[in-house]
């Protein structure tokens, strides 16, 4: 046999698993590293809030209200004398939890809808995708506003509202590569081998489109955090006195002329998170996009 097996390279594949593929994409683009590191630092700070926050975020100190940044209060205090830095750290937890839970559910629901719709095709696909287009036609803030206004402002409802705005984009992003992948011979081989549709979708299509969904996830996490802040800003977020970034901006807004730091610091925090996630997602997408098409 001329086709020697020794010719097979022994080193591990760089592209086979979607996790490995993501890692390669990461290395190809430095900005995604910056994005990831900044985002991970923010997550770590949020997780460590109970340990590192200098004060209780709800502790009021009427004597030292509306103080500017100082050694005792790095980011100053608000109109109730609460420490802005501590509220910022605790608020990060809430923003990240609401953002990630809503985006994870949207990923799960939207991704499932997209894969099934793309796989089944035909009239079903047409109807489902038109329903998604209807969802998509609402700007996410308006949509969130409607849902929270109907259900009332609470953390759970906020998550539902944000998830609803993100389902349609995830359905779209999952559907397109599903349609491309399902035409490939190996999917036909699955059908010839008598695999169930469920198995084909979950075991053979999903891993091939996972990278695209994850990239979308990181970009939409930023949007979700922004939407949460916007809703909190107009008073439809988690109720005070719980600290959220959007809520802090609103409260600071009342004293914007004499104590601008109250709004500026939470705004900067949102900026930083959104910026880092977008860098992460953009970098990943640029690195992955052209290669994914080949199916490698």
């Amino acid at each position: 046999m001329t086709e020697s097996i020794a010719a097979v390279p022994v080193e591990r594949p760089a592209a086979a698993h979607w996790l490995l593929q993501l890692r390669r994409a990461f290395n190809a683009n430095a900005t995604s590293w910056v994005g990831l590191v900044v985002f991970l630092v923010i997550v770590a700070l949020a997780l460590l809030a109970p340990l590192i926050a200098p004060y209780d975020p709800l502790d009021q100190d009427i004597i030292s209200r509306l103080e500017g940044p100082s050694a005792a209060h790095w980011f100053g205090t608000d109109s109730y004398g609460r420490d802005t830095l501590s509220r910022l750290l605790w608020g990060a937890r809430l923003s990240l939890v609401i953002g990630s839970v809503s985006i994870l559910s949207a990923m799960l629901i939207g991704g499932t809808i997209g894969i099934v719709s793309g796989y089944v095709g035909g009239k079903f696909d047409l109807v489902v995708m038109q329903a998604m287009d209807v969802l998509l036609s609402f700007p996410s803030l308006i949509m969130g506003l409607m849902v929270v206004a109907m259900l009332g402002p609470s953390m759970g409802n906020l998550i539902i509202a944000i998830a609803l705005t993100a389902i349609a984009p995830f359905a779209r992003i999952a559907r397109a590569p599903t349609i491309a992948v399902k035409e490939r011979d190996y999917i036909e081989a699955c059908r010839a081998l008598g695999y169930s549709d469920l198995r084909i979708m979950a075991v053979h299509i999903l891993p091939n489109i996972m990278a695209e969904i994850l990239v979308m996830g990181s970009l939409w996490l930023a949007t979700a955090i922004r939407t949460e802040a916007s809703l909190s800003f107009i008073g439809l977020g988690v109720r005070p006195p719980v600290a959220t970034w959007g809520g802090m901006i609103r409260e600071g807004f009342e004293n914007i002329l004499d104590s601008a730091w109250l709004s500026i610091f939470p705004s900067l925090a949102i900026l930083l998170v959104v910026f880092s996630l977008n860098m992460l997602g953009d970098g990943l997408r640029d690195a992955i996009d052209p290669k994914l098409r080949g199916g490698e």
């Binding site: 081989a189 010839a192 091939n208």
Partner: protein, 323 residues
């Protein structure tokens, strides 16, 4: 001829395609226009024709990877097209497919070991340990080492991937394999290895093959009988030696004369096939081949020639050969 493994009768598949803008009109592509053939047990049946003649559609329709509109497919006497979900699943174990493009036929994110044990798992064959052992045996049978189990498709060459594709088709111990241009995408040197492998498997396992190819030389080497397709219809069928000795349909004759024979002293007046295959959307009236046929007569432009059985398993659809 031995008892038939597969009988196909009047298989028809039309695709409706919307064409044109802004006002789309529906056109019908006659991919399969009533084809019939029989594959004997342990035999290889060649399905030959130019691209777009419907030969791949035929292979897929037999396996119901494409649902045919009409016709009958009987596997060992059992009606495949009427089979319900459960029966079809059982039938799938007996009928498998090998694809043309080895780069598209393996899931790039699935380890070879998983790809080979999964069919057994799905069909509840053997215990997990047995499945791995069986997969390793299959790899050995197609000429690949055990350590291929833990590798991914992109670590293999085209020929090796094709071997893996063949091993996967064998996991459920099928009796019939539809080989859709199994060597067309490979280098010539690899082609012969894969053909030898398929031939060895056929002898050891008593497999029947539907061998789809545009390469007459390959079909002549691999098959016992064949059918020539043109625009969705079979124009001639019969045992390989007879067809190659004396092709009856002008198209078959042209195909035969166009396929090279390794004999420098052989001189033939090459009859060239002029022009392109007409569109299957709008096939020529009468005999589809009359636009390219050197013997075209008046009647060929008007009526499609009836199927004429000639005995010995031969048959032809041509006005030149009316009984």
């Amino acid at each position: 001829m031995p008892e038939p493994m597969l009988e196909v009768a009047g298989l028809r598949k039309f695709f409706e395609v919307k064409r044109g803008f802004p006002r789309a009109t529906t056109v019908t592509v006659r991919a399969l226009d009533g084809i019939s053939f029989t594959v004997g047990a342990g035999q290889s049946f060649g399905l030959v024709g130019e691209s777009g003649c419907g030969k791949s559609t035929a292979g897929r329709a037999v396996l119901r990877l494409i649902e045919p509109d009409e016709g009958r497919v009987a596997f060992k006497g059992e009606d495949v097209l009427a089979a319900g979900k459960e029966r079809l699943r059982a039938l799938r174990r007996k009928m498998q497919i090998v694809f043309q493009d080895p780069y598209a036929s393996l899931n790039p994110r699935r380890m070879i070991g998983k790809a080979l044990t999964e069919p057994m798992r799905v069909h509840g064959v053997g215990a997990p340990g047995e499945r791995v052992a069986r997969a390793e045996l299959l790899l050995a049978e197609v000429g690949l080492p055990k350590n291929a189990m833990t590798r991914y498709p992109h670590e293999f060459s085209g020929g090796q991937r094709q071997r893996i594709g063949i091993a996967r088709a064998l996991t459920l111990e099928p009796e019939l394999i539809v080989a859709d241009e199994p060597v067309s995408a490979l280098d010539v040197s690899i082609q012969s290895q894969i053909l030898l492998l398929l031939q060895g498997l056929q002898e050891r396992r008593r497999l029947s093959f539907i061998f789809i190819s545009h390469d007459l030389g390959v079909v002549r080497y691999f098959c016992q009988s064949m059918a020539v397709m043109y625009l969705g219809r079979i124009v001639e069928t019969g045992p390989i030696p007879a067809i190659f000795k004396e092709p009856l349909h002008p198209y078959t004759k042209m195909l035969r004369d166009a396929s090279p024979v390794p004999d420098p002293t052989r001189k033939v007046a090459m009859l060239r096939i002029e022009g392109e295959v007409p569109s299957a959307v709008n096939p020529p009236a009468g005999c589809h081949f009359h636009t390219r046929c050197p013997h075209a007569m008046e009647i060929c432009r008007k009526a499609y020639p009836e199927w004429t059985p000639l005995g010995d398993g031969r048959g032809v659809a041509c006005h030149l050969h009316k009984v």
